[in-house]
């Protein structure tokens, strides 16, 4: 009976497609299918917002959709090959282990490392925790100092704060107004007891690419382990652990069109870097991260990395074109648009714009048909503007109105055009209502106004 329903649905689906927006009947509904009148005006209503369809997705830095080819690689490991890779006694374990090792090689290939140097974890946050806290705890007799930047991801900054509470010293390097660190400042803050330098490769909020090779050279000179959070960089810019001279690298699965919940930590073997494990248990993953390795997720991450290697050039060209289209489209209709962060040393898929004389929250509320994030994505619970933008020296009012557009593999030209149209409309509408903008148009310099106290 069930096979009849399935074959009927399959026949229906493989017949020539007519209208793409007919609501599909699930196999369960096919049994009870009276002709349900589909409601095109139904739309979605959530959190007080009504939109007619799913928003177009321009938030690739938060997460990326799973590529269908990755899903195809993962499904067998959910359906039939569900063994635990650490079971040594039967086929299920053996085939699962084979898949994990194959995925390990795929991840290693993308960063020019050896498969023996890859440890699978639950995500980049766990990798960052292992790197920062694990390294410092291991070498805590001799090394008491950590150098990082002010624009790092929250998990690195939080781990450093935890270390500070335990008695370690942490130097937070400031960044220049384009988001890059000053190499001379890095050099001068190195001490004899520095145990780790942690600088993220591509920033998640502003997209700037730090000078990784130069930092690697400095760390090699002083013989200090170099850790980088390459979650946003993986699959987008070419990564070579030997050129960059990194000892530890955090990688994340769901930023390269893979599944959420998996990540990988690269740990150099020559010279060997040792860490104290943060997850104790049965000694899996060479004792660094105990716990059953999630085979389907790991296979997904491996497939995603292999895809990324094949598609990197094609994607990069396309993303740059789309970014130019977006930026030029917005700049053609609006003035007072500032790109936050360096425009040269930047990953094209991350466009962080600030619109002058516009309030950020109201801009976001009007952009409900576009899924974008404001600059303060990681700190979105609080009202304070993003610490990254503050570190860049951006004014409070500009920091509040920043929007981060994330362009990825699946973004189309029509989506970009629509995003441009919606953003321009909303900004114009808000500026129309703004008395501040009126004053600016009349030529008054806002900074010179003496606001009276009441």
């Amino acid at each position: 009976m069930a096979s009849k329903i399935i074959s009927a649905t399959i026949r229906r689906s493989l017949s020539p497609r007519t209208l793409p927006h007919i609501r599909p009947l699930s196999t369960a509904a096919a049994v009870t299918a009276a002709a349900e009148p589909y409601d095109e005006t139904a739309g979605i209503s959530m959190k007080g917002v009504k939109i007619s369809g799913r928003p177009l997705y321009l938030d690739m830095q938060a997460t990326s959709p799973v590529d269908p080819r990755v899903l195809d690689a993962m499904l067998p490991y959910f359906v039939s090959r569900y063994g635990n890779p650490h079971s040594r006694t039967h086929l299920y374990g053996w085939e699962s282990d084979e898949a994990v090792e194959a995925a390990r090689a795929q991840v290693a290939n993308l960063i020019n490392a050896s498969p023996k140097e890859i440890v699978f974890t639950s995500g980049a946050t766990e990798c960052n925790n292992i790197s920062v806290k694990g390294v410092m705890h291991f070498y805590k007799e001799k090394k008491k100092h950590v150098i990082t930047t002010q624009t790092e991801h929250k998990c690195v900054l939080d781990s450093c704060r935890h270390l500070q509470q335990e008695g370690f010293d942490v130097t937070y390097l400031p960044v220049k107004s384009d988001g890059l660190i000053d190499l001379n400042e890095l050099r001068s803050s190195i001490r004899t007891n520095t145990g780790l330098v942690s600088v993220m490769a591509v920033n998640n909020e502003i997209g700037v690419i730090q000078p990784m090779e130069e930092i690697g050279q400095i760390c090699k000179e002083f013989n200090i382990p170099f850790h980088t959070d390459a979650a946003q960089a993986l699959g987008k810019i070419p990564i070579d652990v030997n050129k960059w001279n990194v000892s530890l690298m955090s990688l994340s699965g769901h930023k390269v069109y893979g599944p959420k919940g998996v990540g990988a930590l690269y740990m150099r073997r020559r010279p060997r870097i040792r860490v104290e494990p943060q997850m104790n248990g049965g000694g899996q993953e060479r004792g660094i991260r105990s716990g059953t390795v999630p085979t389907p997720l790991v296979v997904g991450m491996g497939a995603a990395c292999e895809l990324a290697m094949k598609e990197m050039e094609y994607d990069e060209k396309r993303v740059t074109e789309l970014k130019d289209r977006l930026l030029n489209g917005i700049r053609a209709k609006l003035d007072g648009v500032v790109v936050n962060g360096s425009t040269e040393s930047r990953y094209a898929g991350n466009l962080n714009l600030s619109f002058a004389y516009v309030e950020g929250e109201s801009l976001l509320m009007g952009l409900k048909e576009v899924a974008v994030s404001s600059g303060s994505a990681c700190t979105s619970a609080s009202l304070e503007p993003s610490y990254v933008l503050r570190a860049l020296g951006v004014d409070e009012d500009m920091a509040h109105t920043s929007i981060r557009f994330g362009i990825g593999r699946f973004t189309t030209e029509e989506e970009i055009d629509k995003a441009v149209e919606l953003t321009v409309n909303q900004v114009e509408k808000l500026r129309e209502m703004s008395p501040l903008y009126e004053m600016v148009k009349e030529g008054i310099d806002i900074k010179s106004i003496q606001w009276s106290q009441h």
Partner: protein
């Protein structure tokens, strides 16, 4: 030992191309549909200049495998497609 498989004929390649486009139309997700269409066209264009018969056969075999992936995933995406379509499908 060399029983060389003859490289695919122009007709076979065109038929594969058309199958890909047909399969891409069946994706219920707007982004994946557009991506599959665009990527197929770009990939076939890029491989048009291949002259070495082994590389042509390899690319064709890879294409056939990818077509099977696309067909499977079109079904999966169909079964799990959301009730409300993407804005891009509704307005356009």
């Amino acid at each position: 030992m060399s029983t060389a498989v003859p490289p695919p004929s122009r007709k076979e390649i065109l038929s594969l191309f058309r199958s890909f486009l047909r399969s891409s139309r069946q994706f219920s997700d707007y982004n994946i549909r557009e991506y599959t269409k665009r990527r197929t066209i770009d990939a076939f264009h890029h491989n048009k200049t291949l002259s070495n018969p082994t590389s042509i056969s390899a690319a064709f075999a890879d294409g056939k495998y990818q077509l099977q992936v696309a067909k499977r995933q079109a079904l999966v995406y169909y079964f799990y497609s959301p009730k409300v379509k993407s804005i891009m499908d509704i307005k356009y």
